[in-house]
């Protein structure tokens, strides 16, 4: 297998600035086995692709080496180009001389020498490559959406509309997520529940969507197109099928407790539904609060319930589902105030975070929309809003910007000014980020029409002094110290991934970054796919973002799932393990290594000389195998090999790198 073509890419200046591309392609011209070597400005561009295709056809090349950027970027592009020219795509290998040579080395001579050696080693690898053909594997056309917030619901609705069954798993008893807690939404100030409830209602009644609230995913095995997922449905102690939603039990229940839906701003009963428009509109008994669970007495709800659907002895159920694709829409939480020492560490009742202010401002909230101080219920005369509380802060380990706080803080100030015209709203900010459509106009309106005072500067400390909150900061534009006494302080705390996201990542084997947000396959080109094939991402699970972006991303993820389900079988990656049955002795040392249980013993007939001999050999389930290659190391005689990264290829690459 000798006729190899080598293409060295300039990548504009990215590569050619520190790697002498001409010298590289010149040197490769008479390297044994290389039939054609050339360099080109932008190989990934269409003319570049045409050049490759034409050279393959004209010279009947049997292998291609493209020295350009990272394989994660354009391996599939160049392999598709080769396939179009009639060459098996797995005869094409990429040498990464951009991210691993030109960009990371400054000395041109070293970088060029290294690039040439890397290309030569890839040529050796291509010499040992074989024709590989993808396998067809069956597909379960059912999607599992984790997280019932706006992004989870959008995905569920889009996929259900396309006619595929959806399972929506939500850890809270009702769907709606964080959006259900908002009062109005920027920049149009339309009420959050007005635009959300049609969606939740539709999800509630859509025939293709199976709702699993109060549940979480505990185990996921298998591979894309054939996941098997175990969902734990926590007990609600109320039989939701029989319950008619009259909510008598909630009324009569004597025990009151803090409602975590209200973020501590309001109360709820031991048996209750989070908010009036909740879907499913069914109550749930909180085991920790309910008197019966503590003392065994009370049972008022049982007496009151007309259809007798209270079931104290309800158990948690584990449901197993066969799934084709998974969409992670686990949403976000706000950084707890306790972590911000300088702003009172959550000790002061009147220092609240953005979500608590939403609940106070929300019509269906505990104060029916009237902005009051949580401590004494009075209408605050002056409110101080503090932006970037915990975000853009390196010491706290969160240098990133939470993106949505500038807008919702402006909204909070406007809502307050609309209610209390003569109230004082001061916002301490670093930079106002209002990049969306109509966002900047919204903030200008807050400043000009509603006279919200914007002070540029960071707040040093917030403390309580004889009943009033003192905010010490500095106005960097005027350079003076600022001391404001306020009735209420609202912190725009940082957006962090929802609790349990990291554990979910490890269950689904999807990587998360250092802050716990899920890793997308590629920041610009594959934002809705995770690194694991068949697992997609939507909404704040991947990074902080506002509602319009979340919905557009969720629609994107749904589109990905729908395209995946549009074919009735999947094409599997042929770079999987392969057994040489002439050598395999059937010792099955490889079997316990395989994470996907793809290796099974089998009795086969093998011709030896003139006799047919029955032998036990290991066989690979090509659909299950994901090509990690750990089994080939356990195989002593080298019978188990991995196509695409075979022992021969890696050894040749190694040898030529060490010359």
């Amino acid at each position: 297998m000798k006729k190899i073509g080598v293409f060295v890419c300039w990548c504009g200046l990215n590569i050619s600035s520190t790697v002498d591309v001409e010298k590289a392609s010149e040197e490769l011209k008479n390297y044994p086995g290389v039939f054609y070597a050339d360099d080109y400005k932008y190989l990934c561009s269409d003319p570049g692709q045409e050049l490759i295709k034409k050279t393959i056809v004209d010279n009947k090349l049997e292998g291609i080496v493209v020295a350009a950027c990272s394989p994660n970027m354009h391996e599939s592009t160049f392999r598709a180009a080769a396939e179009a020219a009639g060459l098996n795509p797995y005869r094409v290998e990429i040498t990464n001389i951009r991210e691993q040579a030109s960009w990371v080395h400054s000395n041109k001579e070293d970088a060029t020498a290294k690039a040439i050696q890397l290309i030569k080693s890839t040529v050796e690898k291509v010499k040992k490559s074989e024709d590989l053909f993808p396998q067809q594997i069956p597909l379960t056309k059912k999607v599992l959406v984790i997280g019932g917030g706006i992004s989870g619901m959008t995905v569920a609705l889009e996929v259900a509309e396309a006619g595929y069954p959806v399972i929506l798993v939500e850890k809270e008893p009702q769907i709606g997520g964080n959006m259900a807690k908002l009062s109005e939404t920027f920049p149009t100030l339309d009420c959050a529940s007005c635009i959300l409830t049609p969606k939740t209602a539709e999800v509630g009644r859509h025939s293709n969507i199976t709702l699993m609230t109060n549940s979480e995913v505990i185990e996921s095995t298998g591979y894309f197109g054939n996941f098997t997922v175990k969902v734990k449905r926590k007990p609600t102690f109320v039989d939701w099928k029989k319950c008619i939603g009259c909510m008598l039990c909630q009324e009569k229940c004597p025990k009151k407790t803090n409602s975590d839906f209200e973020h501590g701003m309001g109360k709820r009963k031991a048996i209750s539904v989070a908010f009036p428009q909740a879907i499913p509109y069914r109550p749930i008994i909180s085991e920790k609060e309910c008197i019966y669970f503590k003392t065994g007495k009370c049972k008022i709800c049982v007496k009151v319930c007309p259809v007798d659907c209270i079931e104290f002895e309800q158990e948690e159920k584990i449901i197993e589902e066969n799934i084709g694709a998974i969409v992670v829409a686990s949403g976000y939480d706000l950084l707890p105030k306790e972590e911000l020492g300088e702003y009172g560490q959550g000790k002061y009742a009147d220092v609240i975070d953005g979500m608590q202010f939403e609940r106070i401002a929300s019509a269906s909230g505990p104060t029916e929309g009237v902005i009051k101080r949580p401590s004494d219920g009075k209408i605050p005369k002056s409110i101080v809003f503090i932006q970037c509380a915990g975000s853009r802060d390196n010491q706290k380990g969160r240098p990133y910007c939470s993106k949505i706080c500038c807008m919702y803080t402006a909204k909070h100030a406007m809502l307050y000014k609309h209610q209390v015209h003569d109230g004082e709203a001061t916002i301490f900010y670093m930079d106002i980020r209002a990049g969306g459509k109509g966002y900047e106009e919204f903030v200008q309106r807050a400043i000009e029409d509603d006279h919200v005072l914007y002070l540029r500067g960071r707040v040093a400390r917030v403390y309580e002094e004889d009943g009033r909150l003192v905010v010490l900061g500095v106005d960097t534009l005027s350079g003076e110290q600022v001391r404001i006494e306020a009735d209420l302080v609202v912190l725009a705390t940082a957006v962090i991934p929802s609790i349990g996201a990291k554990a979910l990542g490890q269950t689904l084997k999807v990587g998360t970054d250092t802050y716990g947000f899920f890793n997308e396959a590629h920041p610009k080109l594959k934002p809705v796919e995770s690194m694991t094939k068949g697992v997609f991402l939507a909404g704040c699970a991947q990074a902080p973002r506002d509602i319009p972006e979340t919905v557009s991303q969720a629609t994107g993820a749904a589109a990905k799932v729908i395209t995946m389900f549009s074919k009735n079988h999947l094409v599997s990656d042929p770079q999987v393990a392969k057994v040489n049955e002439k050598i395999c002795v059937g010792c099955l040392l490889c079997k316990p290594i395989c994470p996907y249980k793809a290796i099974e013993p089998e009795i086969v007939e093998v011709r030896v000389g003139c006799r047919a001999e029955k032998r036990q050999v290991a066989t690979i389930n090509k659909g299950l195998c994901q090509g990690c290659g750990a089994c080939s190391v356990a195989c002593r005689s080298g019978a188990m090999n991995l196509s695409g990264f075979s022992n021969e290829q890696i050894l040749e690459e190694l040898k030529s790198l060490c010359l």
Partner: protein, 338 residues
């Protein structure tokens, strides 16, 4: 007749080392090995019956470079190896020296001679020490040789209490003695030291002498005895690699990018793939054919071609075979049976 005091041996070796590499038996972790002395010339020892590796190592080493080649962008040039240095092997046993004569038949007679072996033989000298105490594995007397035999050696030293009686066999040996005359003294007493070495018996005696075995073996091709002993054989190359007369080798190329070298290394007819051909055809697929091939070659084919048995009774395969498949056993059994 000359005499060499034991104390002068190191002096002799040091003097010889000026223009030749010196090989002598040394004890390495309890194993007596014929190895090259580099600077310390009294590292040799005498309390051994035979060295694990025979003197074949010096004339037909396990690993030998045939040639080197450079093939950068298609102009191929091939360089034969550089000429070898002189070598002197001290402390060789008479059986090993006799084995070298058998190798001479293979590599030097016939239509083509092996130039590497020829050059090494011409530049090599063997100083043999007669065996004072053959052990239970030796049967050199079965091949009309003896612990004091002189065939194949240049100089033979017969150990007496504190000196060696020196007998120069070949003119290379005489020249060597003349060149270092000051170290030798002429021996006055001519008692029968040499004769009693030559007439010394080995514990096994001659009951392993093949006599006319090769005629009888001609039609013993399908004798079930081969299957019986082959069943015990593990198929390792132990017996062939320690044997001083085995000469099979494999030629293999070692490539380093565009350049490289071609080497020749010992190979064993007992290995599974020794006779394997392209297309997976193997004329000797199981251990039975291979074991038969090994003993038929030593006791029949070699005798047909060179009229000598290809064994010198050094006893290495008898000692080293873990499961007792060795030539002494074969000869004794075949002599009884036929």
């Amino acid at each position: 007749m000359d005499k060499l005091l034991r104390s002068n041996v190191s002096r002799l070796l040091k003097k010889l080392s000026e223009h030749a590499e010196i090989y002598a038996p040394t004890m390495e972790d309890g194993v007596c090995v014929l190895s090259k002395l580099v600077n310390n010339y009294d590292d040799w020892t005498l309390d051994y019956v035979r060295t694990t590796n025979s003197v074949k190592d010096i004339f037909f080493p396990q690993n030998e470079e045939i040639m080197r080649y450079k093939n950068a962008n298609n102009d191929l040039n091939i360089e034969p190896p550089k000429p070898f240095k002189e070598r002197v092997a001290f402390g060789v046993r008479p059986c090993d020296a006799a084995a070298m004569l058998l190798l001479d038949n293979v590599f030097l007679e016939g239509e083509f001679y092996d130039s590497y072996y020829k050059e090494r033989r011409e530049k090599g000298a063997l100083i043999t020490i007669a065996c004072e105490k053959p052990d239970q594995y030796c049967f050199c007397t079965s091949f009309h040789s003896s612990p004091g035999a002189t065939e194949g050696s240049d100089i033979v030293l017969y150990p007496a209490d504190d000196y060696f009686l020196v007998v120069a066999v070949t003119d290379k040996g005489k020249k060597l003695i003349k060149a270092n005359a000051e170290i030798f003294e002429n021996a006055t007493e001519k008692s029968g030291i040499v004769e009693n070495y030559k007439s010394m018996k080995t514990p096994i005696g001659n009951n392993c002498s093949p006599g006319e075995l090769n005629e009888k073996l001609k039609n013993e091709f399908d004798n079930p005895y081969w299957k019986k002993i082959a069943r015990r054989c593990l198929g390792c190359g132990n017996c062939t690699f320690v044997c001083p007369t085995c000469h099979c080798f494999a030629v293999c190329d070692v490539a380093r990018g565009c350049d490289g070298k071609r080497t020749r290394t010992w190979d064993s007819c007992k290995f599974q793939d020794f006779f394997l051909m392209a297309g997976d055809h193997n004329p000797r697929p199981t251990q039975v054919e291979r074991t038969r091939q090994r003993f038929m070659h030593k006791l029949n084919y070699f005798k047909e071609k060179y009229d000598k048995y290809q064994c010198v009774g050094c006893g290495r395969c008898v000692e080293k075979c873990p499961v007792g498949v060795h030539i002494a056993d074969v000869i004794t059994h075949m002599k009884e049976e036929l």
